[in-house]
Symmetry: C2
Subunit: 423 residues, 2 copies
């Protein structure tokens, strides 16, 4: 199988100044194309380290992709390292890239300086794939079998994320022309409401009976639950897809409504899709989640077609005055209670005129109210068929409690809409 290594260059990554998003995007694209990424490495802006590291990656992989290190100030170090690594005798100006540089700078009303012109200079050992999105060209260095014991290629890409992303299709096309590439198929199964270990125990017999060519991974996340990923390498994409589909069928039988989607990335997208399908609207009333539920819902593009709005009722006065929660109910049951969660859900539904609503009241911490345990939440979900309440307790820090409260509320909401749609 053709393997690749992604090797990013830049001191700013090693001191934690920036999060390297290029690597994961490149790895994802390579993986989707059926190329196995064996390693990702980040190194600093040091000539010898660059040469030694790239040589090592080329020894162990067919393909090395190296984004970054080609900016105006670092240009010399990386390019010189690549020239040395590839045994280049000198530089040549690439005319196509030079005309792109000229066009980009002219469109910004800038003159082409010597330093700009220098970006079109490449070692005479490389082929150039023009970069239409920026000034630095994409350089391809090919190494015959004699050099590393196998035929290898190194692709040097610009580090600006949108330029690196723009380079992906031509790089993958080039790889396909030069290396044997098999197909991989992935399917995601999004679950919520079971911890990773409980989920694993529940599906253990199924997992043990998985065919050898199907691989399962658990990807837990506070906000989206546990994502199960099934993968198969298959030259016959139809057969591979069918094999995965069969296993998903078995999982559905095991997990029921713990599975919230086979397509969406997260609960708020699933809720949005269901609301669109049902042609219904939504509102939210938040106390302990402080706006996070609204923020999650509105993170979905197009959410304005079903989300009317929300009230964050941090103060008791806002619960009473804006949401219409009765002071008597608060006095009798306390702010953190099933009754107040239900009253908030009903109140915001009435206030906004929405079909569904979700509400939270609880204690995210660190300090408590002297009555309820920190980490307690009451969730109210209201819809055309009535109002339901639920309670949970999470023992995390403030941020994680708020995340869990929000995700759990979205999941109960999802269950109500789904159940209404199916009835």
């Amino acid at each position: 199988m053709t393997t690749a290594s992604v090797c990013t260059i830049g001191d700013e990554i090693l001191i934690g100044q920036i999060v390297d998003t290029n690597s994961s995007r490149l790895a994802g694209a390579l993986n989707e194309a059926g190329i196995r990424v064996s390693r990702m490495v980040s190194i600093g802006d040091e000539g010898n380290v660059i040469i030694e590291s790239l040589r090592n990656e080329l020894k162990n992989n067919d393909i090395v992709i190296t984004p970054g290190g080609l900016g105006p100030t670092k240009d010399d170090i990386t390019k010189a390292a690549l020239a040395k690594l590839s045994g280049s005798g000198g530089y040549v100006e690439n005319e196509v890239q030079f005309s792109i540089i000229h066009r980009i700078l002219s469109s910004r009303g800038l003159d082409v300086l010597d330093s700009n012109r220098a970006q079109a200079l490449v070692p005479d050992t490389c082929e150039v794939i023009p970069n239409n999105l920026g000034t630095a060209p994409i350089m391809v260095f090919r190494f015959p079998e004699a050099v590393f014991g196998h035929s290898a290629a190194l692709y040097a890409l610009p580090g600006v994320p949108y330029e690196a992303e723009g380079a992906i299709p031509s790089v993958i096309e080039d790889i396909r022309r030069h290396f044997p590439v098999s197909s991989i198929i992935h399917r995601n199964i999004m679950t919520y409401g079971l911890a990773e270990s409980a989920l694993a125990a529940l599906i253990e017999p199924w997992e043990n009976s998985l065919p050898g060519d199907i691989h399962l991974a658990y990807l837990p996340n506070q906000l989206t639950g546990v994502r199960l990923r099934l993968s198969i390498y298959s030259e016959d994409s139809e057969k591979g897809a069918a094999a995965l589909e069969e296993e998903i069928g078995k999982l559905r039988a095991l997990l029921g409504d713990k599975i919230y989607s086979l397509s969406d990335d997260n609960l708020q997208s699933a809720v949005g899709r269901l609301l669109k399908e049902a042609e219904k609207t939504l509102s939210a009333a938040e106390s302990c989640t402080g706006g996070e539920i609204a923020s999650l819902i509105t993170s979905v593009p197009g959410s304005s077609s079903y989300f009317l709005g929300s009230v964050t009722s941090y103060a008791v006065s806002v619960k009473e005055k804006v949401l219409g929660v009765s002071p008597d109910v608060i006095a009798k049951f306390g702010v953190v209670s099933s009754e107040v969660a239900a009253a908030m859900a009903r109140g915001v539904k009435k206030l906004t005129g929405s079909d569904y609503s979700v509400a939270t009241t609880g204690l995210a911490g660190p300090s408590g109210d002297g009555t309820n345990r920190v980490g307690t939440v009451w969730i109210g979900v209201s819809g055309p068929g009535g109002t339901k309440t639920y309670t949970k307790n999470y023992q995390n820090d403030r941020k994680r409690n708020i995340d869990r409260f929000s995700a759990t509320a979205l999941d109960y909401l999802r269950q109500m809409i789904e159940s209404d749609l199916n009835s």
Copy 2:
């Protein structure tokens, strides 16, 4: 200088399914502690690859930190690899970690499964630092000089980002006890309202005149602005601190109110501190930011003492009915306008009875309204002295636009409260 390598383990990183944020956070923390990170490597869940890679990193570094691969499910084979690498003869149950596992699961009303209990089992070759935030322990493997030619240590951390982050202080403390680490003093200067390049241009002469032992780093972030970090290696902490203080004085003269704090981590903490100082309260009305401002404000522990609540008015009807924005104003100026931003800010201030309020109306994208450019926001800030509005345009994707809108709104609010306090 003591060097470290961060080696993350997990197929999900290599297939590009998740962005590895642990590495950059760990690298940043190590760097801040005066430990140089020489490389970051990501490898897959394969026993032999893990052993070989870790061995290679240990050969070339004093310290290897490896987050991930310690979950309770089957795809986690890191522990077996660590046992083999360290020549372990067997596993022992760590009682402290077992009691933590027990506490965490009980608090969630869950039984302790065999797979959970197994998480407290560690190779007999390691020391354990208890992980109070999750079920997987932090394991420390020490290698005497004979093994890799220098004394080395490997720290295996849980991969869940907040658990990995929580492990940092104890890991750095342990490193300090076992390796020579020189003293480094940092000061943070939090700025907002200037892009990194503009900020750099403005302070260039000052930066060029910095004493050789003082290092400056730019740490830009969508939500918190550009953090400037001044560092000095100094065995004399008083002298070092005084040298940094002198430079901060010069920076203050250059940047004025672009500096929002020398102590807070972010704008919402600065706003909270100022409100407490002024003994005033706050509310918010959000359209395009969809709850993110409220969510940021309430992420600060103790925010209930000054934050009364907010309205997310996604639908026009909510702007009119709940916030009292006049339909005539909307008809005349449009929803995305200075007038509506001001009316929303005044409306929520009146509704909640707060002293200050902040409001947003705009287009986060991807789709527009046919009139305003996508990325446009109007911000209203209202206080005891009146109401002000501002507009900005950002050309990012939806999520980044919402982040910028929210942070910019918080910064204008911060400026108003600060100015009121100083007058």
